[in-house]
Symmetry: C2
Subunit: 315 residues, 2 copies
């Protein structure tokens, strides 16, 4: 999967993924009203509105970008119906040629992580049949439980050519509470916990069975755009890992902040923007130009983001 | 919710929850065949088998126990259909008077954690309606992202009288990889990371709005039975928090190991057993006595576990 991702980033010249995190507040009133008219003010109505919104965003941007990152929480909050919209979104994006990064942040003890890995990257066996339940191409993983919680995901990467991004340093304000703690490393040195996690990611990523022709591994990492200095260190610690960079745009990261996450060749990182793209029509400069044409505004916001990043990293 | 839990533990004299983690391998062949005959070898067939299995276990044990802990991964791996079986299980357990601990281990940046918290503990608004999507009573939370990832869950606890158990020290073999690292505390001392997380849990738990009449807080912690010495320390660090203790039975924890997790009054902890109960019929001494009568074997295993724990903690 990593080679497909690198190739798609090269061909679109866009190290970008669009975060499909469709909060109800982002959706135009008319779209919601239509869905509620057909399905009622129900979870089904909410799910239909989300799906229609996503579809229009995808149709307007799929030719510009390599990947999307649906955040499953925004679907899970509408229960079973919301998760149906998630599954439908994953399948439609793949039909349109996009790589789907399921932002699921799962992670548990070994046998339970194996169930999550099967759900999102692998297959399950039912009697004589095998089925891929959600079938994302890549998913995000929480490392707090250590290697035996991550290995089942890595196993699916190897078996089905899938990828993972392991949380190393997250983009949120309180991420430092535990992640930045100075901790004892195996060599007797003291390093921030995120560096220790980064070193472990590099160890996982270095298995030759996971390294693609691009030189990158199926095992990548999440490092927030809001922490560019830590990004620089982590880029060095994890040379084989692609970095998924959230926090650009709405969370405060700018193009300039992204430079340390990339390699010298302009590869090695993929930057996510969610509300900065999908809710662009609600903010200037897009609001005035596009009114309620949210999909057109999203396309324009993708083009602007592409330019911003290309300028910053000198592509 | 914590007062309801304490009261239910008192009245059943069972500080026990049954882990509803129905792996396909635990299910009797006949039960699966019946479900597959009706729904095919499909995700729907698997979900039906899981639901039938759960229902029989619940019917055979609900009068002995205060709570159940369905592990959502085991449902999520069967996609939408599996998650329908999860929702059905949650609702049925609540109908039977049981407290449901959703073992979901969710955790993300603030706005995303808010979506997860709404999904599992709270309500969502759709137009003029509000709906509780999954509606568990308590859920487990991953702390790696820090306070802003946990606070949205705490907010739901306060608003809807719900509870959470925050992962502090997990039961799996590699949990020490990050959780045991000696890390710098705010007071300049060096402590294992799990102690730092425990101290933070105590801080969250101490909000008077979260403390019940029992003296315990809606904010509890997960500490594995497999690490009794750490349990002793953590019991002291988090005096207001109930401890959910996984790892008893199949993972190696014994009655004796559980003592440090309890307060002097025999409260303060609830011990989970999953396969030790629901798959008891596959193992001696139950296999010979019960044959394929898995629900009866589960009841007997609950009675034995009750005895084992009562003896160990001197109830």
């Amino acid at each position: 999967m990593i080679d497909r991702l690198v190739e798609a980033i090269r061909s679109t010249e866009a190290p970008i993924c669009v975060g499909l995190d469709p909060q109800m507040g982002f959706l135009p009133e008319e779209l919601k009203e239509n869905a509620f008219r057909e399905y009622g003010e129900t979870l089904e109505g909410a799910a239909e509105a989300i799906w229609q919104f996503n579809k229009a965003i995808i149709d307007a941007t799929y030719d510009l970008i390599p990947a999307v990152k649906p955040q499953i929480a925004m679907y899970e909050m509408y229960g079973i119906e919301g998760l149906k919209a998630f599954a439908k979104t994953v399948a439609y994006c793949q039909e349109m040629g996009l790589i789907v990064i399921g932002d699921v942040k799962r992670g548990d003890i070994g046998s339970t992580s194996a169930a999550y890995a099967a759900a999102h990257l692998g297959e399950v066996t039912v009697g004589s049949q095998t089925v891929a339940p959600f079938g994302e191409d890549i998913c995000t993983v929480n490392p707090y439980l250590g290697s035996d919680g991550v290995q089942p995901f890595i196993k699916e990467c190897a078996a089905h050519s899938k990828g993972i991004f392991v949380l190393v340093k997250t983009s949120n304000p309180s991420s430092g509470e535990f992640q930045d703690r100075l901790a004892a490393d195996d060599d007797g040195q003291t390093r921030p916990l995120y560096e220790l996690v980064g070193k472990k990611v590099d160890e996982w990523a270095s298995d030759p069975a996971l390294i693609g022709k691009s030189g990158y591994s199926e095992v990548g990492a999440v490092v927030g755009a809001t922490y560019p200095q830590m990004g620089e260190t982590l880029r060095r610690i994890m040379p084989k890992s692609y970095i998924l960079v959230p926090g650009y745009g709405a969370q405060g990261g700018t193009g300039k902040d992204l430079v340390p996450f990339f390699d010298k060749d302009g590869l090695g990182a993929i930057v996510n923007s969610s509300r900065g793209i999908i809710a662009a029509y609600k903010k200037e400069p897009y609001a005035e130009r596009f009114g309620s044409a949210y999909a057109d505004a999203a396309r324009e916001a993708v083009l602007d983001m592409k330019k911003d990043i290309a300028q910053a990293i000198g592509l």
